[in-house]
């Protein structure tokens, strides 16, 4: 399968199964659109006839270059090198190695699009996790991770800073047992920043390998969507604290992370606003049911795609800004096995609530049909976990035919459930935006490599 597209003035061909990416001149771009493998020895006359704007000898020249790529395994490659049965069995044996630890089901903001019911996940019961439960969660992941060395724990909520005592004790406990169990814990935190102070900024910058800092971009957008409990704007309270945290971050990762909704579709402006605070930025489409007023709809797609293009045009000239969803490491990204199975929710990755209940991921919390078990009594529904483990880009029918399958790896099960009532059926809006982001990301890579300028866009 070959996917051709034009973005940022660059003509690109992605050879989906091999991972090869080529930048084409205009003639070759139009020629490739006409090609069905296997390629004949010479450019067929009927194809040349469909492209009368180009000289036959130029078409033949490009034809031979395309043939050369195919012979080298860089074009029209099949995916028969992947042992699907072996890959599926590896996934079935997947071990839990990442926790989203909900140390708090309470929050000091009242974000209008919150999937967590403004902190309590729709339970009406706000609470924080006690250390005993957090300790059981750590013991659970140590046991379930088998021989895997690297274990990730993201302190999440609600707002995790509302349970800072539990956070600190959990880190201390995990560090105290990691050597004896041959583990390496990596801690991260996702915070709205309201409760940041000098002390916990220093703590986060010392202990957390990544800090995800929630802020929606422009002040007016943030304050519209992320008000405090009293209905006031949160921007002026939070931004100075985030600036302080970032200033002390050193080489450790952080992301300023915003959400865009149907209320503010010009999200490129929010990326720019966040980039003025810190260089690592992630701004993402909201997750919501179709009927939610903030949810992105199919009719919004043309506008949203144009906005991604506008953002890519801006970032082309601002390489100092690192936009998370335009990151694509073509040469050294994840292996193809990883790319078959996606996020690992429900098998490699689970969320644990303040009560100790286990869910496939943070987005499933509160959905009783998907409760996997509890760290309190040691229950774990292996059958349900296997249902998630069985999902991959070949079992999700729409993914199997999608050019982006090895980049997105199957999308978000929780989003699929929310929109389509089925964890396996991809969410169309999410898929279209993902493909658009990837096209922009690959085009930016081509331009950064010095390809795709006049040389490859000029008519032959």
């Amino acid at each position: 399968m070959v996917h051709t597209f034009q973005a940022l003035g660059v003509n690109i061909a992605v050879d989906v199964n091999s991972g090869a990416v080529h930048v084409l001149d205009e003639l070759t771009y139009h020629l490739l659109e006409q090609v069905e493998p296997p390629m004949a020895e010479h450019c067929p006359a009927e194809i040349a006839a469909r492209l009368p704007q180009y000289a036959p000898e130029s078409l033949e020249e490009a034809w031979q270059e395309l043939r050369g790529l195919a012979e080298e395994g860089l074009l029209f490659e099949e995916d028969d090198y992947i042992d699907r049965e072996k890959a599926a069995s590896m996934q079935q044996q997947a071990l839990v190695k990442a926790l989203c630890l909900h140390v708090s089901h309470d929050c000091n903001l009242r974000c209008k699009y919150c999937f967590a019911g403004t902190g309590d996940f729709g339970t009406g019961h706000r609470m924080t996790m006690d250390f005993e439960t957090a300790k059981k969660a750590i013991d659970f992941v140590v046991e379930k991770s088998g021989k895997r060395r690297n274990i990730e724990v993201d302190f999440f909520g609600g707002e995790p800073l509302m349970a800072m005592d539990t956070v600190k004790k959990t880190v201390e406990y995990a560090r105290s047992i990691e050597k004896e169990h041959g583990k390496c814990f990596r801690f991260t935190i996702t915070t709205n920043g309201v409760l940041l102070n000098d002390e916990n900024i220093a703590y986060i910058n010392r202990e957390m390998s990544n800090a995800v800092l929630s802020l929606d971009g422009r002040k007016e957008v943030n304050d519209d969507l992320r008000p405090t409990v009293n209905g006031k704007g949160s921007y002026d309270v939070i931004v100075p604290k985030f600036q302080k945290l970032i200033a002390g971050r050193g080489t450790k990762d952080y992301y300023l992370r915003g959400t865009f909704t149907r209320f503010h579709k010009d999200f490129a402006e929010d990326v720019k606003a966040l980039a003025a605070i810190g260089r690592n930025v992630s701004v993402e489409p909201v997750v919501g049911k179709r009927e939610d007023p903030y949810a992105l709809q199919e009719e919004d797609l043309p506008e949203l795609k144009a906005e991604y293009e506008r953002l890519a045009e801006y970032l082309k000239d601002h390489p100092e800004t690192n936009f998370f969803h335009f990151n694509v490491d073509l040469a050294q990204g994840p292996c193809v096995i990883k790319r078959l199975r996606g996020c690992g929710a429900g098998c490699e990755y689970v969320a644990i609530t303040p009560e100790g209940d286990i869910y496939p991921c943070h987005q499933f919390v509160g959905n009783e049909a998907y409760k996997l078990g509890s760290v309190q009594d040691g229950t774990f529904n292996a059958e349900l976990s296997h249902r998630f483990a069985a999902l991959n880009i070949y079992t999700r029918e729409e993914c199997a035919h999608c050019w982006a399958r090895f980049y997105c790896s199957g999308g978000c099960s929780a989003s699929n459930l929310l929109v389509n009532g089925n964890i396996e059926r991809p969410h169309k809006v999410g898929c279209e935006l993902e493909r658009k982001r990837l096209e922009c990301a690959i085009a930016l890579r081509a331009l950064a490599a010095g390809l795709g300028g006049e040389e490859t866009s000029a008519k032959a």
Partner: protein, 47 residues
């Protein structure tokens, strides 16, 4: 080549030979929490 510049080779196919160790980061833990993308993650063995 005159008409084509290759930006990236068959790296995906090559990775099949040594991949699958499972030590890499869970994608949703990095910065998203809402929109899964895997291709922007790092390989643990290339760190």
């Amino acid at each position: 080549m005159k008409h084509i510049k290759t930006l990236n080779g068959a790296t995906l196919k090559k990775s099949a030979a040594h991949g699958g160790c499972g030590e890499c980061q869970t994608s949703c833990q990095s910065a998203c929490k809402t929109s899964c993308t895997v291709a922007n993650q790092k390989c643990e063995n290339d760190r």
